[in-house]
Symmetry: C2
């Protein structure tokens, strides 16, 4: 980061450029100007009362520490912030409510002023959504009239914090699971509220997941959907006698099997003979078999069975294979099984062995590769453990730990004043890590020879607060990170909002370019963020200037 | 719990009783029938295809373990579930989306059926919202056509899980903080998404908090709001010269102070003489002083200052006192200070000492009792530590750890089939704690002599899965826990939905009646939940019946 020359800092006349197409409001209609802390309104009044409300302020939005003990974070939530400011306007009813909440002594003029606030005079600069980011680097820079920008603090931080946290969490899960596995987000029921669930589905997809179970998110964002059946479906059946419509047309439409139940039973007997010789199972659970047959009759080309309602290897897997083999007779290829309890490493290997035996015994080509999905309370740690133990899982369904970010359920993004009326401001703290970096700044990413993110001029990079940490760097390429997403009254081009797919692609590319030592789960190497020598000197000048001097006795 | 006699289990003709007033939809308009897992729709199709969709099913919603290492949970989220089913209807657009997501082979009749589903034939029984509840006890019992009830699973569990979790978290924070402290929820910016924040505000209030900073929640639910100013407000000022409007009318309207800034400076000089003798401070930060003066001019009757932007004892507290004393001259009583960093125990004690000195030195009655609010990353543990160290904090502002339920960010509520067509169902598992308790059941709370929740008939109570754990109990009073919140087509009275205040009162009473050993933070005593002797026998009969028998070789 370095202090930015004050070219565009002044207040300009005129409204924002309205030639760009209208931007929809936030996904969640509850995201209104009232979704903020009361103190933003009390401060707005105090600014207004002091005649200071239009002072031109610059705020940085950033976080201080990467989540999950890691050394990187994925920035997400920007689109929602842009949608929010593009439609920012307090309704009369909302203003009446604010009036009730403040003091009866507050002057009427303020409420008229409040009703006139929109974001036509606010400028928002940000790093592209889906980018890999690091502590202390401004993710967003918001410039505008101080009272108006303060009203944006809480909603912006709210919209960025969880979005970035859960996207990062998804990226971390993808890193551990490996590129070849199918990752499904199954967290809706355990998410922190309805749009905790909807947000999780969107941002987990952004961070590298392949699909979600959440239909609302599928519809809103076009994310692929996955899902088959639950334990309740299995236990709702009492036995094959329940099945009255037993016929199934073959995949090519040429034949009809009039009694698919009997065909399945026949296969089950054959399997029993096969497996008795290996001592795996005796009588399988007949209500489970009925459930599987019913599901196969409903979705013959999408048969995937949850096999752990009664007993995976004694009942679920043989029942699945019986139905899958019967489907095979009719030209359909079964999709696979899902394991939702027990020792997933062991059970997946046992199931795989069983599938291979079936392929060999009955000459069903490819049956050994039948897909295995696992889905019981998975997280980074259990994925890592499964990898170490060895497993045969092709696809992971991950819920609770992913969407609630169980390992660290909050990211600490803050929104700090760094400049007002062209005067740099600093916030001090007993805790050095909480001292803010003053000034309107520019951020750059420096790339080294290998293409890894690391700036061809020799540059002195300094740790903002540690005098001894500094280095000369000769970057191969320098990327200017901040782009203008909301020009306000500034004569600038507004960056178009990319689609979710585009953001996801950007995110995947960014992650691919990371050095793996920054990404590993245990003791990752910190990515170094520095300030320019000039900014370093300025921070420390300002710090001494603002800190009160004690008197020792 | 005991098996319920099958009086109301049958399907009745006619629609639900429409004489009750209409119920509004869910608070968050994104809570629609699509806010569910895809497999609820695939199962619905499979049930429909098997002609089984109208089989009368009974599902229990319950959790298996109390959160936060505790021995109790507060049940919340019921109102939202009732609002959801009262308005359950898939739109044509939603049905078209479901059709896209399922298989092209799915029959048209199913989508007609789907469009006709409402909850007029579903019955919902539940424990009152705000009640203290325990593992394995059904919080809700949902009866109805199996396909329709399955569609409710995900939204119900989503709406209950976080609500109950965060209400419990709030109750735990209240327990540690003690009754006399003011508890403020300040979590919006760190919550998991927008309605993570709105839900947190509502349910923390339910669980015993006094107020929130979240304006949207204040407006939606009538929760008291609190908030004053941030660090940015303080650092936005550069010095007292900025203040141009300096006059302040006295509280009784009789006098005007033309230069409130000078009055404050005078007080600051007096304070400096006082405190120099104790070596506390030299020059205070003048931009901070300007901010405090401005805030006081805006809200002379509500002056509360954040005192840690530069240095609490060398700047913030003396600046606050100077303004507070100037306000006192004008007949206003300052509210207090907020500490947001550093050693809260030490700083609160030092600030209190300073206030007492001011009271003594300048004869300002009650100044020693000026309120101190603390708000830096507080949680149960830090509250407990503050209590042990001794502190002078009157009010706690709690955010991140409270609203994200940092100590355990998910509650594991499940939705299990316990009966279908009057046939009890059980779900087995390798893990005994995951075996479901079959049958439509009734739940009772048994009260002992002290009035504590514990059932005058001698009753044999048995642990559902541990043969050796059983006891005869002679309760003084027996409470039937489940009430009808949605009668569907059953001829029953629907319980009115209480107001948030009423739920909060109920919750406070329930918590007061708990034995403190069940509530303590470390090693709390488990509250015993039992099944009747008859149900115990039945569970184990069914278990043996459903489990597959292996063949050892």
């Amino acid at each position: 980061m370095e202090a930015k020359p004050k070219i565009n800092g002044g207040v300009k006349d005129g409204k924002q450029n309205r030639s760009t197409p209208a931007i929809n409001g936030p996904t969640n209609p509850m995201v209104t100007p009232l979704l903020t802390d009361l103190y933003q309104f009390t401060m707005a009044y105090a600014y207004w009362k002091a005649g200071k409300h239009n002072d031109r302020a610059v705020f940085d939005l950033y976080f201080r520490r990467n989540p999950f003990g890691g050394e990187y974070t994925v920035f997400a939530g920007l689109e929602e912030c842009v949608r929010f400011i593009a439609n920012f306007k307090l309704s009369k009813e909302e203003i009446a409510f604010v009036r009730e909440c403040l003091s009866p002594t507050c002057e009427d003029g303020f409420f008229d002023y409040l009703g006139g606030i929109d974001c036509s005079d606010v400028e928002v600069y940000a790093i592209a959504e889906g980018s890999v980011v690091f502590p202390k680097v401004p993710l967003m820079r918001i410039e505008g009239p101080v009272a108006a920008v303060q009203l944006l603090e809480t909603p912006f931080v709210n919209l960025i914090n969880y979005a970035s946290l859960v996207t990062t969490n998804a990226a971390r899960h993808r890193f551990v699971a490996g590129k070849s596995k199918l990752l499904l987000e199954f967290g809706l029921r355990r998410a922190q509220g309805p749009d905790g669930g909807i947000g999780a589905s969107r941002y987990c997809y952004m961070g590298g997941f392949d699909a979600t179970s959440n239909c609302a998110a599928g519809k809103l964002f076009g994310i692929p959907l996955r899902g088959t059946h639950s334990h309740a479906f299995v236990s709702s059946f009492t036995g094959p006698d329940e099945i009255t419509k037993k016929s199934l047309k073959s995949q090519d439409g040429s034949r009809v099997c009039k009694d698919f139940v009997s065909l399945t039973q026949t296969w089950l007997s054959k399997l029993k003979r096969l497996s008795l010789s290996e001592g795996v199972f005796g009588e399988t659970n007949q209500s489970e078999l009925a459930a599987f047959v019913s599901y196969a009759l409903a979705f013959p080309d999408k048969f995937l069975a949850l096999v752990d309602t009664y007993d995976v290897m004694r009942s679920g897997v043989p029942n699945f294979c019986a139905v899958a083999l019967a489907l095979n007779d009719m030209g359909y290829k079964a999709k696979g099984i899902r394991l939702d309890s027990g020792d997933l490493a062991y059970l997946s290997c046992e199931a795989r062995k069983f599938f291979h035996n079936v392929e060999k015994e009955f000459q069903v080509l490819g049956f050994g590769k039948t897909s295995i999905t696992a889905s019981n309370d998975l997280n980074e740690e259990t994925l890592d453990a499964l990898n170490k133990q060895g497993h045969e899982v092709d696809s992971f369904g991950i819920g609770t730990y992913l969407v609630t970010c169980f390992a660290q359920p909050a990211l600490g993004c803050v929104f700090k004043l760094v400049e007002i009326n062209d005067q740099p401001r600093i916030k001090l703290s007993e805790d050095v890590s909480k001292v803010s970096i003053p000034c309107k700044k520019r951020s750059f990413r420096l790339y080294g020879k290998e293409g890894y993110a690391l700036v061809g001029q020799r540059i002195l990079c300094r740790h903002p607060f540690n005098e001894s940490k500094r280095a000369y760097v000769v970057p191969q390429r320098v990327e200017d990170l901040m782009k203008c997403y909301w020009p306000g009254s500034a004569e600038k081009k507004r960056e178009e909002l990319p689609t979710l797919e585009q953001i996801r692609d950007h995110c995947m590319k960014q992650l691919e370019h990371m050095r793996t030592d920054h990404m590993r789960r245990l003791n990752p190497t910190p990515y170094k963020v520095s300030v320019s020598a000039k900014l370093y000197e300025f921070i420390h000048f300002l710090w001494l200037n603002e800190a009160p001097v004690g008197e020792l006795q």
